[in-house]
Amino acid sequence: MSIKRALGVCTALGVIASAVAVNVQFYDENLPGSLNPLYAESMVDFRAQELYFDRLFYRDPIDNRLDSKIVKRFEMAGATKIRLFLEEGLKWHNGDELTADDICFTIKAIMDPKTTSARAKAFRKSFTDCQVEKNSVAVIEFPEVYHKPISRLNFAVLPKKSFKSTAILPNTEFSTRPVGSGPMSGAKSTSYAIFKAHRDSSHHKPKIDKMRLNQAQDPVVQINTIKGGGMHGIVSVAPPYRPELASSSEVVMKTYDLRSWWFIALNEKNPMLAKKEVRQALNYLIDRNDLREKTIGVKKGDKESPCELISGPFVQSSPYYNRGIPVVERRYEAKAASLLNRAGLEKKGRSWYYNGEQVRLRIGMKETLNKEAPDLLDQIGNQLGEAGFDRLVYKINAEEWTREVISGKASSKYDMVIGKWSFNIDENVNNLFETRGKDKGTRNIFNYSNPEVDAILERFNAARRDSDAKNAYLDLHAKLSDELPYLFLWKLDTKSAWRKEIRSNIIAPYYYFTMIDDWKYSNK
């Protein structure tokens, strides 16, 4: 090799080698609401928090093995106690040592009744105590013998020094500028969230230096930006645009495994919607095939469809789905009219009237859903309009959705809301439909209440056998398809797109970024 050529090669290599701070940018549907893992509400929250925090134990998305970045080994210290030995050299993002004290602090925060988090409440029954034996040894006590106790320890670890007490409240600085131990440190602003590699600890060595989460734009903008190289990834690609990206040689489509289904919740505080016949009529007036085709681009009968219609609160692949309940795929105008007449509505001209007044429906939709199913809100509005209902449509931003809609405070604002629920392996839907009360019905959007439904949900809770649990939910499906607190729409598969420079990017079901340490950028 000549000296001249060698110098040329060396310079080129030097430039490449100097490029150490790669900033991987991606779109997610929204900014995270809270970065405090106790207050994760949305899937965006879960995904972002997976970067900032370590869960004590997590499932490997490849082989489903329970693993930990923090715990070196564990042993049972009695039938209901487990002793955890932490790895050495663990550090928080601020350089403090992560110790057994933090593990026990987290558990005590979860157990503290003044910690108002729903996530904490879910975990609360799993523990009775935590003791620090040594700096790196903690003993956790459970209320009963669990089959695989470490599977109960999939909560994010919090830094004791960042809090004044174990009573952790939602709206503190920690929720925007968290101190975690996860693979990335960072914070969120009003327009993006940033992540910076946390390599000062023994347990993380992410290969990507920086990441930036940007709020999803119009799907066309997202597609063009990723194809042009301006962005590296899109967490959820709207279905109509998937073929275009799939055929690009610059981008790789990847499945994001998530059990999600879409719905229209109906407000029974509206006297008209309190009538079952009206709800059933609306069910017959929604043409799901047409909606699916116009907003998602999927026609009836399409093979490998990402979108499958449903008739109840489960996806069709779920064992709880009652296959005996058919989907109402298209409009049945005559049936609907008959039901509406029976309910006391009257059609004058092209419009429906109730108690002498023209019916007007206020329809809201979670704003971010428009990026997955463009124009869905307008299409539903149009269908109801054609059927003779006046309507007002609203896009609901993430904050209002969390603060008002989910918490049952939107009954005076909307008659119908369009949303989506996502599930991990636990497909428990009790808190969506049970009568709202202390720790019950916590996601009951319009405070729906039906004693027969409550009884079925209680049967599910009380079931000892899997078949009894399954039968309870099969009955629930049947009941809800008749009572219709929701009009059930469809399940929609989620696909991500990442530029081919992003390598080894395994996407974990539900949590997404669990394996971020292995992700790398390579422009080879």
Partner: protein, 472 residues
């Protein structure tokens, strides 16, 4: 922030850093790099030459010219197969093509039974409950047997008391377990019937489950997995019947089914031949063996993965690509991804070269320049996954399997997806397996039987998890 932006990537650098690192790399490359780059270039050139010559034997390139492909395009069986209408493909196919389709069905039902066995075993061992009905012992016993765990199966069957509904089934299995197991079990019943079935008409599937009354008033409703074994055998028999007068008939059946055999078959199945069979294109079209060498390699992997790799790395392109990616006796999945893309590109180039003088309107450009090359890429990923699994690289196999799962259209192979679902069930991972079984069951109705224990496992895992419920 200081830096330079290239295509959305922000680089932080200082001039001094560039100079310092350049000098270091300069020294290193003079000492170590420059000399070897020429040798690497020579090796790459000769490897490419070999690739180019071998490439002409791949079905994706051999069938690129319209006159070679047209007979298949016009065949009803192949049209159905390409359009993923697998039951219609059996109805419409004949001769060798039909034999292949039957073997694919046989493979699929074997893997669905493997999924059933894994899910059942995990449900009643790792996740057993005091409330599991006594009859669950029979299903657990059967699963142990299919997994080759004969002693455990026998112990459970011997421990079962009188179960009138199950007695006949138990008796048949016990009879077989008493033999030397050098012959496949001769079974009948188990909800399976071939009445009305024929060579182009698979048996109707009985989705019935058992129903054992429980003290609570409800029922325990497990499904009978043995029917899947009988169905897999039936499809295999159809293939053998079609191939009975073909010289390589027994050999191709042995090779084809080898990667998909159930563990208990090791007791009575003979090892497949390692001969490279001279096979017609019906065996390869829209499949994942580039040519006969890959089929032979694939068949040899389950009994001795490393031995097979050593033996076939000079003959089979896929074996050679895998060999290139082996370090310290482990195959590197990342390297295989790159290898797959290179293979895809080489097939694309070859097809463009072969068809350059044919007017574009006479070609199916997407098929020849996109779909066919993609088959080459996925062939390598699949073979890599199977090799890794038998090379004690469980997790690496999973990484590759997940990539293959992303295939779509004609590349989306139900046999491999069922293989993946079985692997998932073995890992107590139910979500992806359920979604795939649901996707495939409209074409392969018997999968509804295989999913029953998977569903119960899913319910048990979900109810034992810390409640997470719905998120928005």
């Amino acid at each position: 922030m200081d830096g330079v932006v290239f295509f959305g990537v922000q680089y932080q650098c200082t001039i001094m850093n560039i100079i310092k690192q350049s000098l270091l790399i300069c020294v290193l490359s003079v000492v170590f790099g420059c000399g070897s780059s020429e040798e690497a270039a020579k090796e790459e050139k000769s490897s490419s030459k070999v690739e180019a010559e071998k490439g002409s034997s791949f079905w994706m390139t051999r069938l690129a010219p319209p006159e070679k492909l047209n007979p298949f395009v016009q065949d009803v069986g192949w049209q159905s197969y390409y359009n993923r209408n697998f039951q219609d493909s059996i109805r419409g196919a004949k001769e060798i093509t039909l034999a292949r389709f039957h073997l694919e069905h046989s493979a699929l039902y074997r893997q669905s039974l493997l999924m059933y066995a894994h899910a059942t075993k995990n449900l009643y061992t790792q996740y057993k409950s005091d409330d599991d009905p006594i009859q669950s012992q029979y299903f657990l016993a059967m699963s142990h047997i299919f997994l080759g765990e004969f002693k455990q199966g026998k112990t459970l069957l011997d421990g079962l008391g009188e179960e009138p509904v199950l007695n006949e089934s138990i008796s048949q299995w016990k009879t077989w377990l008493k033999t030397d197991k050098k012959a496949a079990p001769a079974l009948n019943g188990f909800f399976f019937s071939t009445e009305g079935a024929g060579i182009n008409n698979p048996p109707s599937w009985n989705e019935e489950t058992y129903a054992f009354s429980l003290p609570s008033g409800s029922f325990y409703e497990p499904s009978e997995g043995t029917g899947l074994w009988l169905l897999a055998q039936w499809h295999e028999e159809q293939a053998r019947t079609i191939l009975k007068d073909v010289s390589y008939g027994e050999e191709v059946v042995g090779q084809w089914l080898s990667p998909w055999r159930l563990p208990f078959e090791a007791s009575f199945s003979s090892s497949p031949t390692k001969k490279v069979l001279s096979l017609a294109d019906d065996w390869f079209l829209f499949g994942f063996y580039l040519d006969g060498t890959d089929l032979a390699f694939s068949a040899a992997i389950p009994s001795d993965a490393r031995g097979a790799l050593k033996e076939f790395s000079q003959k089979s392109t896929l074996a050679r690509e895998i060999q290139k990616c082996v370090q310290d006796e482990k195959v590197n999945p990342e390297c295989l991804v790159d290898g797959g893309m290179a293979l895809e590109e080489s097939v694309r180039k070859e097809n463009k070269e072969q068809t350059k003088d044919i007017p574009i309107e006479q070609l199916n450009a997407e098929l020849l320049y996109e779909t066919f090359p993609s088959f080459a890429r996925y062939s390598l990923l699949r073979m890599g996954a199977i090799f890794a699994l038998h090379n004690d690289q469980h997790r690496d196999s999973g990484i590759l399997q997940l990539m293959v799962r992303e295939a779509s259209g004609p590349l989306r192979d139900p046999v491999f997806l069922t293989f993946f679902s079985a692997w998932e069930a073995g890992n107590n991972s139910t979500l992806r397996a359920q979604d795939l079984v649901h996707e495939l069951s409209s074409e392969f109705n018997p999968l509804q039987t295989a999913r029953v224990p998977l569903d119960f496992l899913h319910i048990r895992l979900g109810r034992n998890a810390v409640p997470s419920g719905a998120s928005h």
